[in-house]
Amino acid sequence: MQRMETGLRTETITVNMGPQHPSTHGVFRMIVTLDGETIVDLEPVMGYLHRCQEKIGERNTYLQNIPYTDRLDYICSMSNNMAYVMAVEKLAQIEVPERAEYIRIIMVELTRIVNHMLAIGALLNDLGCFFTPMLYGLRERERILDLFEMASGSRMMCNYMRFGGVRYDLPPSFMAELKSVVAALPAFIDEFERLLTENEIVLVRCRGVGVLPPEKAIAYSCTGPLLRASGVDYDIRKVDSYSIYERFDFDVPLGRNGDVYDRYLVRIGEMRQSLRILEQAIEGIPEGEISVKLPRVFKPPEGDVYHRIESPKGELGFYLVSDGSTNPYRYKIRSPTFINLTVLPELCKGHKVADVVAILGSIDIVLGEVDR
């Protein structure tokens, strides 16, 4: 406005942020129109990592899809496993033994901690912290990944869950290791908070940036920490109380303003709540069977089901259509971050270039899941 009064002719410039850019968390592109440093318009472009997993899923048998779900959101393979496996169990009406349910919940909640550590670390990297919070997060993540490796044989691509249970029982030393990790994690989260929560630069960079009002968050189908930071109390673990979540006592951290800082706080809060669930799960885990016996050639009955879980990034759902054969007729992945990205242009308009990366970091995308 002021510029027009001075009579200077100004032009907007269009910048391609990505696909090769340090803070797009992979190959993601934003076509940004800038007026000076202010964002006038932003258009996300994706698909650089597209593998058409849904088509591959139709080619594979039901069991063969499990390792592919690992590679959706490659940070949280356990929760992807769980969503898919539960969808198939719903389709074929398989009962899961209690011990397996507990094992699954332990793994999924550990995954949530892993994911939030990385999300916060990456967010701080985008804000310009020279990798320090990121590496602190990675260090704790490593301890959890060791637990995954101990149980499933792989750190990231766990491929651990099976229809009607899990692949292996927990190894003998697992519970002891888990207990010591869970006991040590609160101190780490406290340290993380000391490093970041009150840091003035973090505050000025995050507060009031990328504000997402609750009505808009719902309208844009946002889920996960992004939604809850806007103050909408919607956690599928509570709403659907799938698996055995109704047995655990935990809170849903909510934000007030829906800005980047609240998303950070919600993630920190969720890590603490996950630890609470883990403690209860460690207490309550029973002995017993870890899976049900299924026929070698697994053919679920005809029909279609949709099952969703609260993955660390939001609502992860699988829509399966079965025609009674060994392969799914349709295998659809409702990935949380792909849909959360819908709101990105709305969040970014009017902010500065530096805020775009912060907002993108706070949405916490993984391109494996966005592009599938």
Binding site: G47, H50, Y306, I339
Partner: protein, 155 residues
């Protein structure tokens, strides 16, 4: 639960041919012409404020778009809408004006299944590049693709 909504909807829209589909997840089959009105009604009157997923399925005789609706504020039971589209000219009304969150999902369905959404603000390919031939999630699309990348290399 879905049954009740089905009955209320049938009362509200007497002309349209609604159908109640039993199944593991009960669904309501909606006529493609009435989709927009009905979606608006569901959002405004029934409180289904959250559109979780939009899926396109290629059945042998028809295309089907499946909408998974939830209510975040009132926490109602989920509602599933199914809309059929013809094999030749699949087109369904876009619900992006009602739920903006459908934007990318409808683009994805258009991209991968090839169902057009009338009234979508920007219906272009989203995951594949502009100029790509065909829609991969159609059953007649060969698994190895129309044209393999790097085929000239000796395998």
């Amino acid at each position: 639960m879905s049954k009740e909504i089905y009955e209320r909807l049938a009362k509200e829209f007497p002309e349209s041919s609604l159908d109640y589909l039993e199944g593991k997840d009960p669904a309501i089959s909606v006529n493609a012409d009435d989709l927009f009105e009905m979606a608006l009604h569901l959002k405004e009157k029934e409180g289904y404020d959250y559109l979780s997923a939009v899926t396109g399925v290629d059945y042998p005789d028809r295309f089907e778009v499946v909408y998974h609706l939830y209510s975040m504020r009132e926490r109602k039971e989920p509602l599933i809408l199914k809309v059929s589209a013809s094999k030749e000219e699949p087109e369904v009304a876009s619900v992006t004006p009602i739920w903006p969150g459908a934007n990318f999902q409808e683009r994805e369905v258009y991209d991968l299944v090839g169902i057009r959404f009338a009234g979508h603000p920007k219906l272009t390919r989203i995951l594949l590049w502009e100029g790509y031939e065909g829609h991969p999630l159609r059953k007649d699309f060969p698994i190895e693709g129309h044209r393999a990348i790097g085929q000239e290399e000796p395998s």
